[in-house]
């Protein structure tokens, strides 16, 4: 006797693995995290010793200077790594889409490759390149500094790129930019291919040059994908964890200059065993991400109103 599943029930059966996984590992953890935010307990005794403390965790998080340091770092990194991604990806995508024939796929592949490779491998690779004593970057700077004029501009001693609080953030931002540029290039190339060729034809008839075509035809029609891409970059940038975590050896670097909020909440939970406080920080970060996403949305809607 085989159980026959009726067509009216079948879809629910087919979706059930998603539902079960979503409830168990998606929804439940988030609700649990919300509850944790208002509680404290002794990690040795486990959850049985859980005590309600109201807003204490949140108040503690707000008074914790490191929370603000990490939020400052996160915003700095999100802007410094995110903005160039789009400012460079758009013209680059235009060059690739309009001017390259045979080479297009190979060039796109080269830019896309970092996106699919392991963050750990990438971060290790850049740690080596930016190493203080005779790392590739310092060695090249030393060489360049021997040339006339440049010696006044370039540092005379080896730079401790990953150790100096002034340089760690730009390095992390660069690595993130390097990793995600190609993804954005491909988004924009795909969007550009959806723009009808007739419009360019007409513009060329009217004597528009490449730049004018880009400015007046391509750019305005990229707005929806720009909105999508910028939203992804914002959400991703504000959650930044892996790159700074590995580049700073998991600790956040000198003066915590490379510690993002996601890293700090990880450390609060797993290095200091304060899960309640860590949950409070994660909800703070969530609210900030939500606010930024709404702001991005508003900014794009606003522009559309003018146009």
């Amino acid at each position: 006797m085989k159980p026959i599943i009726k067509p009216s029930v079948a879809p629910y059966v087919l979706i059930s693995p998603f539902i079960v996984l979503f409830l168990a590992f998606g929804l439940f953890p988030i609700l649990f995290s919300f509850v944790l935010m208002f509680h404290t307990w002794d990690p040795v005794q486990g959850l049985a010793s859980m005590q309600f403390v109201g807003l204490e965790n949140l108040a503690f998080a707000i008074e914790d200077p490191l929370v603000w340091t990490s939020l400052g770092n996160t915003l700095w990194l999100a802007v410094a790594s995110g903005l160039p991604q789009h400012l460079i990806a758009i013209p680059l995508a235009y060059l690739i889409n309009e001017k390259l024939g045979r080479w297009r796929n190979a060039v796109m592949g080269a830019y896309f490759l970092p996106y699919i490779t392991s963050t750990v491998a990438i971060a290790m690779m850049f740690s080596t390149l930016f190493s203080t004593d005779y790392g590739m970057v310092n060695a090249m700077l030393m060489k360049l500094a021997q040339m006339p004029l440049l010696e006044y501009v370039l540092p005379s001693a080896n730079v401790d790129w990953l150790g100096d609080p002034k340089t760690i953030k730009p390095i992390v931002a660069f690595v993130v930019f390097w990793r995600y540029l190609g993804f954005n290039v491909i988004l924009y190339v795909a969007a550009m291919q959806a723009i009808s060729r007739d419009q360019y034809e007409a513009a060329r008839m009217d004597g528009a040059n490449s730049f004018q075509q880009f400015w007046h035809i391509t750019l305005p029609q990229l707005k929806p994908i720009m909105f999508f891409g910028v939203t992804l970059t914002t959400i991703g940038g504000l959650q930044l964890f892996e790159e700074p975590f590995i580049l700073t050896g998991g600790k956040g670097g000198m003066e915590y200059a490379g510690m993002t909020t996601a890293m700090y909440l990880y450390r609060t939970a797993f290095d200091y065993n304060d899960y309640g406080l860590a949950s409070a920080i994660s909800w703070m970060l969530f609210i900030i991400i939500l606010a930024m996403t709404i702001l991005t949305n508003k900014a794009f809607k606003g522009k559309e109103g003018q146009a």
Partner: protein, 280 residues
């Protein structure tokens, strides 16, 4: 995306070529040096002038790496978790994608919005409770803690729904039903055999995501013998005396499978990873 540009296109100026070329060097250069460093002893990596060509120290570096971590064990776990995660993802996403593509049912739109909505929830929000849940399930150091929770990703369900609604005619389903096929039988014997291309794309994406996953194992894998490869690689890095040659050899090994996959299927991967964005 596959059409070549028409011949009437403007030619790329010399500065355009220079910019593209410099960009490509910037993108690929670091990989080149990773491979070069993987073949050099630590003292030569950091020598002046910097080394530009391959050495013969690769196996020595590998020997050092194997002293530092249980290399084959870690690589084995990465492979195991990757394959398990891929298999489950293909199964669960094709099931859900099939349901959303073919059936009409109550709450269909609400459920689909729920699926897509899970993409917007930031991962860190669940990090701490997930650890506590895994801990109370005694799943710490269990591979299933890595491949099970994310086995029905929204992106995969979306990809499958798109593919099934465009590639599988509803008449085929109807005909199978006429022949007395049960619904699950239709899924398994009629639909699944036709999903080859979509399985290929989603399978690659799922495997790569699992292979590169770092935060997941960082939270739930606590003993070195259960580390996946990226996590083990990170443990080689130390504040005082890092074996950079060994580390670069390990990094190269983490990257090589991806390079091979990418060379053979970059087109498919790129289309798969961006399809949701461009259509949606």
């Amino acid at each position: 995306m596959n059409e070549l540009p028409k011949s009437d296109h403007n030619k790329l100026s010399w500065w355009g070529w220079t910019a593209l070329l410099l960009g490509a060097i910037l993108m690929l250069g670091p990989f080149y040096f990773m491979f070069v460093f993987a073949t050099l002893p630590r003292t030569e990596i950091f020598s002046v002038p910097p080394p530009l060509f391959f050495g013969d120290h690769f196996f020595a570096n590998m020997a050092i790496l194997m002293q530092k971590i249980p290399f084959w064990v870690n690589l084995g776990w990465s492979l195991y978790v990757g394959l398990a995660s891929t298999a489950l993802t293909l199964l669960f996403c094709s099931m859900a994608g099939f349901a959303f593509a073919i059936y009409e049912f109550r709450f269909k739109n609400a459920l689909f919005s729920l699926v897509m909505g899970t993409m917007l929830v930031p991962a860190f929000l669940g990090m701490i409770p997930t650890f506590l849940i895994m801990d109370s399930l005694h799943w710490i150091d269990q591979p299933r803690a890595l491949y099970l929770p994310g086995a029905a990703p929204a992106m995969g369900i979306f990809l499958m729904r798109q593919y099934i609604s465009s590639a599988i005619p509803k008449e085929l389903i109807e005909a199978a039903r006429m022949d007395g096929c049960g619904e699950l039988r239709i899924y398994w014997s009629v639909v699944v055999p036709l999903l080859g291309p979509a399985f290929g794309t989603l399978g690659l994406i799922a495997f790569i995501a699992s292979w590169n996953n770092f935060i997941g194992p960082l939270v739930v894998m606590r003993s070195v013998d259960m580390y996946t490869f990226p996590l083990a690689l990170r443990s080689v890095q130390s504040p005082v005396d890092t074996e950079w040659g060994a580390l670069m050899a390990g990094s190269a090994i983490a990257v090589i499978p991806l390079l091979i996959i990418f060379i053979f299927s970059s087109r498919r991967l790129i289309d798969g990873l961006t399809s949701g964005a461009v259509r949606g």
